[in-house]
């Protein structure tokens, strides 16, 4: 904890840090690669839709001594379709028959119950008509579209349009990766998966919003100083919120991990598993994208803004001048980035100097002085 706390402090002060923004091209490249892989996977392998989408039936039997093979034969004979039989953790069998109409499903259910020697009521069934899945999918798409539009509007108001766009791109990035993983690994897509995917929407954005919030704060009044470019500030802000980002992601992932563990290990299959699997993949992608993609994107977009461009120019000019004068970068800062109220006070009272040099002395990358972030 002490170590972590110290790391947090040093990250906070910018003594250590990773140049997320500066190395963005690498991460963009990696993301593009992953995304392309995902898209290719999706195109080539397609998604493995569960019966909820294709129509069909899933039967779960009580604990039974009848063998899976026998059950499979019964199911196939009575339904006329291929059946997949799975043994679940502690004895029950899960029989999945796709492309089955509602009426035929009932025949199969009866046949299975007879075979098992139990009453029909004892066989768990989940019968889905073929049109149902389309509707779920349609609604999910509608929901996705509406949500994205609303979120872009909201973020554009709460932050600014560049952040909204960056957040949207990060979001699409997360969704693509998650869907790609599903296509490549061949996990079954069920309503649970859709729920998981749609939840990622909120969650991936939650993460991004936390980072952006810090960015917005630290980049306030950025044009009033000439020490740092926007990208540099963005990077510092990112490093400053890193601990928080990691913590929130870990804490979000832990319950999902619990779900996944129980859903996958205990129940074998089903809703819990589907939701948590999609969530797990999506959350991980979301944490990655809000740090490595969203913020650098904002910086990229921002650097195109004339004001920020001018700022970058001024900063460069100033640095060149300083270099010419032989001054070191550690000079007391002349202006304060971030425009925090107390920073202004600090500056006025000249408090910053010593802190600055301490930080410098600790020797960290970038040589960026302290700014208030978030």
């Amino acid at each position: 904890m002490s170590k972590l706390g110290n790391l947090g402090a040093r990250l906070y002060r910018g003594e250590v840090g990773y140049d997320f923004v500066g190395k963005r091209k690498i991460w963009y490249g990696i993301s593009i690669l992953i995304t392309i892989t995902a898209i290719v996977g999706l195109a080539v392998r397609g998604l493995n839709f569960g019966i909820e989408f294709s129509g069909g039936a899933v039967f779960t039997t009580p604990k039974t001594s009848v063998s899976a093979e026998e059950i499979r034969r019964t199911a196939e004979e009575s339904s006329g379709h291929t059946a997949i039989v799975q043994k679940l953790g502690n004895g029950p069998l899960r029989i999945q028959v796709s492309d089955l109409t509602t009426e035929k499903s009932r025949v199969t259910q009866d046949a299975l119950a007879k075979k098992l020697g139990v009453s029909t009521d004892k066989v768990n069934t989940d019968i889905v008509g073929p049109s149902w899945g389309d509707q779920i999918a349609d609604k999910a798409w509608t929901g996705l579209a509406i949500f994205m539009i609303l979120v872009v509007i909201y973020l554009a108001i709460a932050f600014e349009w560049r952040m909204a766009i960056a957040a949207l791109i990060a979001l699409i990035h997360d969704l693509t990766i998650t869907v790609g993983v599903y296509a490549l690994v061949g996990f079954e897509v069920t309503p649970g998966t859709v729920i998981g995917l749609l939840t990622i929407l909120g969650y991936s954005l939650y993460d991004t919003v936390v980072v952006f919030d810090g960015l917005k704060e630290s980049s306030k009044d950025i044009t009033k100083q000439t020490r740092f470019t926007y990208s540099e500030i963005a990077n510092r802000s990112l490093n400053g919120t890193l601990v928080r980002s990691i913590n929130t992601t870990v804490v979000a992932l832990l319950p999902v991990a619990g779900l996944l563990f129980i859903g996958g290990g205990f129940l074998g299959a089903g809703m819990l598993n589907d939701i948590s699997l999609a969530l797990f993949v999506g959350l991980a992608a979301g944490a990655y994208s809000s740090i490595f993609i969203a913020t650098p994107l904002v910086a990229d977009l921002k650097e195109r803004d004339p004001q920020i461009k001018a700022l970058a120019k001024r900063v460069r000019a100033k640095r060149a001048a300083q270099a010419a004068k032989g001054e070191s970068a550690e000079d007391p800062r002349d202006e304060i980035p971030g425009g925090e109220d107390e920073e202004t006070e600090d500056a006025a009272t000249g408090v910053v100097g010593p802190r600055q040099s301490t930080a410098r002395a600790r020797g960290s990358r970038g040589g960026r002085p302290q700014g208030k972030r978030r």
């Binding site: 904890m1 002490s2 706390g5 110290n6 947090g8 002060r13 779960t60 029950p92 029909t120 009521d121 004892k122 768990n124 989940d126 889905v128 008509g129 049109s131 149902w132 509707q135 779920i136 609604k139 999910a140 929901g143 949500f147 609303l150 909201y154 709460a158 309503p191 649970g192 729920i195 749609l198 939840t199 929407l201 909120g202 954005l205 939650y206 919003v209 919030d213 928080r244 870990v250 804490v251 979000a252 832990l254 319950p255 999902v256 991990a257 619990g258 779900l259 129980i262 129940l267 089903g270 809703m271 819990l272 948590s276 925090e340 109220d341 006070e345 600090d346 009272t349 301490t358 978030r374």
Partner: protein, 611 residues
């Protein structure tokens, strides 16, 4: 966040944290009290956790009637389906609309799912059939003479029997509407009683004749196909039919719910052109009914009204469309001239006689009133039933899920276990990382849990919210979201301490910024939940609901619980002095206190009163 921060008053009440805390504690106690007072201390469980059967029905417009799927029609349909399902003797079944065009039917365990499915899956059929014969509800000994209609029991609701000297119209003369209303005059002039005595069911003959008429007048169009189908299967009138009908009537036992259910099922399965035997809803009578003379779809509206002017009490008014009014006028004209019970017509819904008013005059003009002996409820029920006849909707079963109690219990246990594991993992992480602060997080999580639980229980009663597996998942995922808010705040406080502040100012100064981050991110989360809830159907909705609820509660808890609690704790020595286990030890946070603290503090613009 710039300068004016220090003057800002947070809703957490910097000045009176105790009061705010007390407020939310009172709210929690009130909710808990409300929960116990309401008599249920566990949330309603969905079918997938409690066991049972769940259907999703999808409404379809009847051909030629677009725009029939609207909230009014759907709600009427829900009422009818509820009636049918509860007719099976199911308790605690629930029927509700979902989205625009879906109806969810949940039937708890211990019900015959097959029977329920039949009830739910078939389209309700409403029709007006003339009463041919009536008998008390109980099983009757077979009478040797099959020609005893009417003498069994004269049941005349309105007491308006008009002895008619000219029983000229056989009840069946109205012709089955399904045969295109091709009433043939040839059928008339044959008294029903005669017909029955003559060992030919009037209806059978009528239908047969109809079909002949049909053959002659092909232009009658509309329902040709059906009529032709019927023709091929229609038995030629034979003495056996009448005998069989009478036998059927005798065998019918309308006094027990099971008997009625059986009778209704059989009657509902009959074609509109068939002569049927049916039970009265209350089991008081059983009746032989002629073919459908006016179909329910010809009813355009029905309402229950209270007649105060003529003192007739509650009555039901109904309106017919043009086809319906013509047919109704015809049939009432014929019925009016007959003796009881043959001057009665039965309103049959799904094979059950809901009402059998008698007719005194021919009712023309497309409007009719049914009066006599109604209470408000019964009048409204009947109006409801009649309106359903006007519903141009049919329903398909699109999903069906049967979960045994065993599996349901297992899923519930798994969900709870997953939640517990998730919670423990989160707690371990928080304790390891935040030490003493984790206590605050735990207390806040607990507060959040209590609020969520009680509200879920109360909502279960208020709006029928049922906790299903996805909802449990939503709640578990929410642990993370809720804990995230605390992390955002704690990290803020730590940052402030790193700036060299002592705890009390740090807690206050960190709050406005943390608050904004929490609000913005929770808003996004809530937006996702709301959109999900509105546009999706089925299981996704349960998940979205929990997620939205917990997000809202997260804001409530952070504002009214965590923040005041932090403020209070900041006054404690354990935290304020930065005890190594408090999670706020400046040294561990990497503060270089000697220099900064002394230099900074004077400039830290924190109003001491606020802390």
């Amino acid at each position: 966040m710039a300068a004016p921060k220090k003057g800002r008053r947070s809703p957490g009440g910097q000045g009176r944290p105790g009061r705010v805390l007390a407020l939310i504690l009172i709210a929690m106690v009130a909710l808990t009290g409300g929960m116990f007072a309401s008599g249920r201390t566990t949330p309603r469980l969905g079918i997938d956790l409690a066991g049972g059967t769940s259907f999703t029905l999808e409404a379809k417009n009847e051909p030629g009637k677009p725009n029939a799927i609207n909230p009014t029609n759907m709600n009427t349909a829900v009422g009818i389906i509820e009636r049918r399902v509860n007719g099976l003797g199911v308790t605690e079944s629930e029927v509700q609309t979902q989205g625009d065009n879906h109806i969810i039917v949940n039937i708890p365990k211990g019900t015959n799912a097959k029977q329920a499915r039949q009830q739910v899956g078939t389209t309700a059929k409403l029709g007006f059939r003339p009463v041919l014969s009536m008998a008390p509800g109980a099983k009757t000994e077979p009478t040797p003479n099959a020609s005893s209609p009417g003498k069994d029991k004269e049941k005349d609701k309105d007491g308006k029997t008009k002895p008619s000297g000219t029983p000229s119209a056989s009840s069946s003369a109205a012709a089955s509407p399904s045969a295109g209303a091709s009433a043939s005059p040839r059928q008339q002039g044959r008294p029903v009683t005669d017909a029955v005595k003559a060992d030919a069911t009037p209806s059978a003959s009528a239908v047969a004749k109809d079909d002949k008429a049909k053959d002659e007048k092909k232009d009658d169009g509309k329902k040709d196909d059906k009529a032709k189908d019927d023709k091929s299967k229609e038995p030629t009138p034979s003495p056996a039919d009448v005998a069989a009908l009478q036998k059927k009537l005798d065998a019918l036992d309308c006094t027990t719910p099971e008997g009625r259910a059986k009778a209704n099922e059989a009657a509902a399965g009959a074609k509109p052109t068939d002569v049927i035997v049916a039970c009265k809803k209350d089991g008081s009578a059983k009746e032989i009914l002629g073919p459908v003379s006016v179909e329910g779809t010809n009813v355009t509206g029905a309402s229950a009204v209270f007649d105060s002017q003529q003192g007739r009490g509650w009555l039901v008014q109904l309106k017919f469309d043009s086809t319906g009014s013509k047919k109704f006028a015809d049939v009432t004209g014929q019925l009016a001239s007959k003796q009881s019970p043959q001057n009665q017509f039965a309103i049959v819904l799904d094979g059950e006689v809901v009402s059998d008013p008698s007719v005194s005059t021919s009712i023309t003009g497309g409007q009719a009133e049914i009066s006599g002996g109604f209470t408000q409820t019964s009048a409204q029920d009947l109006a409801n039933v009649l309106s359903y006849g006007a519903l141009p909707l049919s329903f398909d079963v699109v999903t069906e899920q049967t979960v045994t109690a065993a599996l349901g219990g297992e899923q519930l246990r798994a969900g709870l276990l997953a939640g517990a594991i998730g919670l423990v993992l989160v707690i371990i992480y928080l304790v390891a990382y935040y030490r003493g602060l984790a206590l605050v997080a735990l207390a806040s999580l607990l507060a959040s849990a209590i609020l969520t639980y009680t509200i879920m229980v109360l909502l279960g009663q208020a709006i029928g919210f049922a906790l299903n597996l996805p909802a449990v998942c939503g709640a578990i995922v929410a642990i993370g979201i809720t804990a995230d808010s605390f992390i955002v705040y704690f990290e803020r406080i730590r940052d402030e301490i790193r700036e060299g502040r002592t705890l009390r100012p740090a807690v206050e100064r960190g709050w406005p910024r943390a608050r904004r981050t929490i609000l913005v991110s929770d808003f996004v989360s809530f937006l996702a939940a709301a959109v999900l809830f509105i546009v999706t159907v089925g299981k996704v909705q349960g998940f979205a609901f929990t997620l939205g609820l917990t997000t809202l509660l997260d804001v409530v808890v952070v504002f009214f619980f965590t923040k005041p609690l932090m403020t209070l704790l900041a006054r404690r020595k354990f935290f304020a002095s930065g005890h190594p286990w408090s999670g706020l030890d400046p040294k561990r946070l990497g503060v270089k206190p000697p220099l900064r603290a002394s230099r900074r503090r004077p400039s830290a613009p924190v109003d001491p009163k606020e802390a």
